[in-house]
């Protein structure tokens, strides 16, 4: 079934970590398999935030050598970062297998991403000035606690609770997806895409990479491809309504914007709250109520609708 949520503070920053955690807790019944967050903090100059993992959660309990392998993989990532001229400003171990680095790097981000992901087991979850993508198995409370997301100050966020239907229950199949190699672009999706393999083949021929067999990843790669060709986000989203086939409602976030799109049959739900200061959207109103525990005016966007909102609070 899956649940998706998004929020954006239009004029100021807020505790988007706690807010998104509460929204996703309210959507737990829509997806128990995994939970993911894409949180947008305030950039620090040109420093990039790199979130990556070198193993799946369930790998950590298999085999005698896995812990050493994880250490070796991480050491290889560090080595390659240094080779490319990236300076490690801050290093944090989010879990045994997932890490958060703040790096000073002015080179080719795509080359950096490709080189890091060439390390066995390594996957870059996100790379951006403000975007931090966190996803893992378990519910929102567990993942938020594990990665210390409460108190994360930022301007906007999207999140996802997953009920796996088209692919495995693992981190690489969890949402959100980073629209590699575009910094700060992430996507969450509720639904099923029926032209996933056809679309994937076409995009792979154009040089794009897929890290999972999850159909939702197609949306992130599709938007990245469109933007690479010069399209604006909103235009790319409008094209997706006719070019993606299946049932879908998705939310996409960029460095300073939040957007949502609904398929032509409005088969998957979305409820929207909009005010001058704050936008919140989610699969169910109960998620929005976790941020606003009082009566508010909400509504459902219509079929084929695309909306984009911008935050003016970006530094």
């Amino acid at each position: 079934m899956c649940g998706i949520a998004g929020l954006i503070h239009r004029r100021k920053t807020g505790d988007v970590g706690t807010e998104m955690t509460n929204m996703l807790k309210s959507l737990k019944h829509r997806g128990p398999d995994s939970t993911g967050f894409a949180l947008y903090g305030q950039p620090k100059g040109n420093e990039l935030v790199l979130r990556f993992k070198v193993a799946e959660q369930d790998e950590m309990s298999k085999g005698f050598d896995i812990h050493q392998q994880v250490k070796d993989r991480r050491a290889e990532v560090d080595k390659r970062l240094k080779e490319l001229g990236a300076k490690l400003v801050k290093v944090e171990e989010a879990t045994q297998y997932a890490f958060r680095y703040r790096i000073d790097f002015g080179g080719d981000r795509r080359k950096l991403a490709d080189y890091i992901e060439d390390v066995e087991g390594a996957e870059i979850l996100s790379l951006g000035l403000g975007l931090e993508l966190i996803k893992d198995l378990g519910d929102a409370a567990r993942v938020s606690d594990q990665y210390h997301l409460n108190g994360f100050i930022g301007t906007h966020a999207i999140g996802h609770t997953r009920m796996a239907t088209e692919s495995d229950v693992d981190i690489r199949s969890a949402h959100p997806y980073w629209a590699y190699p575009f910094a700060d672009v992430s996507v969450v999706h509720n639904g099923q895409l029926t032209n996933y393999w056809k679309g994937r083949r076409a995009l792979e021929h154009r040089g794009h990479r897929f890290m999972s067999n999850c159909d939702s990843e197609l949306i992130a790669v599709y938007l990245a491809d469109k933007m690479q060709q010069g399209a604006k986000l909103e235009d790319a989203m409008k094209d997706s309504i006719s070019e993606l086939d299946g049932v879908f409602t998705y939310i996409v976030a960029t460095a300073d914007s939040l957007g949502m799109a609904k398929d032509v049959m409005a088969a998957k739900p979305m409820v929207l709250y909009e005010s001058d200061d704050f936008i919140a959207l989610a699969s169910e109103e109960v998620a929005i109520r976790s941020v606003f525990p009082h009566e508010i005016d909400t509504w459902d966007p219509y079929e084929g609708e695309v909306r984009v909102w911008k935050s003016e609070a970006r530094a």
Partner: protein, 276 residues
């Protein structure tokens, strides 16, 4: 009576007498009594705060209050929870101050329910009788498979309204999304605003009236002709809920089933093989 209802366009099939009208009293008092129903007094009123309660607790609270004879109940702060006020099988005046989530007021038979906020998906699905009035807007699959009663949303509604409708009246004050009246079998749907595409797709019977623009008709949905009796019926119905057709009731577009897809006279494949 059957002839008059046919003249009003409420149905087209020839009633053979094997209907509910044979078995229940015309004043319908007996229709709303279940063996384990509560004896309530509409002049006895109770209020409660649903904010701290789960959906299950809310529904149990309603039954508790009904068992105490309260025929008028006011529920505050439902908090957009799902599955609230379901399975109410008797006369009751229920006022909900706030919004509901999914499947609110489902499987009801008899109560009058007013909702001051909005509702999520599938409100009043499978309603048998009674009245539900929503002041704001509603999500998709509003009134799915209702069999009787009046279901009213004064604002906009989502897609697939009245999917598989089997009777009753769905009344929408605003616009409606795509695939409304999909596989409709009976009853009336009145959309005072615009209707999305694929309106009345694959409808077997029943009637849809639209006050605004129709983005597109569904398979086997065709325009029909309004009758004077229909106009009178619709005017009375709209007045009951304080609604008005934007250009007058006479200018509502009437949509009915073309019945080109009916195949009830066709033999099943197995039957065909035996016959041939």
């Amino acid at each position: 009576m059957a002839q008059r209802s046919m003249q009003m366009g409420m149905h087209t099939e020839k009633l053979s007498g094997k209907t509910q009208q044979r078995f229940f009293s015309p004043t319908e008092e007996e229709n709303f009594l279940y063996p384990d129903g509560y004896d309530v007094d509409f002049n006895k009123r109770a209020e409660f705060d649903a904010g701290p309660l789960s959906a299950k607790e809310i529904n149990l609270k309603l039954r508790e209050l009904m068992s105490q004879g309260n025929g008028t109940i006011v529920m505050h702060n439902p908090g957009a929870k799902h599955g609230v006020a379901v399975g109410l099988l008797q006369r009751l005046n229920l006022h909900i101050k706030g919004s509901l989530g999914y499947f609110g007021c489902g499987l009801i038979d008899g109560p009058n329910i007013s909702i001051s906020g909005r509702v999520g998906w599938s409100c009043a699905e499978n309603m048998l009788s009674g009245r539900v009035v929503i002041e704001k807007n509603a999500g998709s699959t509003f009134g799915a498979a209702i069999r009787g009663g009046d279901l009213v949303c004064k604002g906009d509604v989502g897609a697939r309204v009245g999917i598989d409708q089997k009777g009753g009246t769905i009344l929408i004050g605003g616009r409606a999304g795509a695939f409304c009246g999909f596989m409709m079998q009976r009853g009336r749907m009145i959309i005072l605003g615009d209707a999305g595409k694929n309106l009345g797709d694959s409808m077997y019977d029943g009637t849809i009236y639209v006050g605004g623009k129709i983005a597109g008709l569904g398979v086997d949905a065709v325009e029909g002709e309004m009758t004077d009796l229909e106009v009178q019926f619709l005017e009375r119905k709209l007045k009951l809920y304080g609604l008005e057709a934007p250009n007058g009731v006479k200018n509502l577009t009437k949509i009915v089933a073309g019945k080109q897809l009916w195949n009830y006279d066709n033999l099943e494949p197995t039957e065909k093989k035996i016959v041939l």
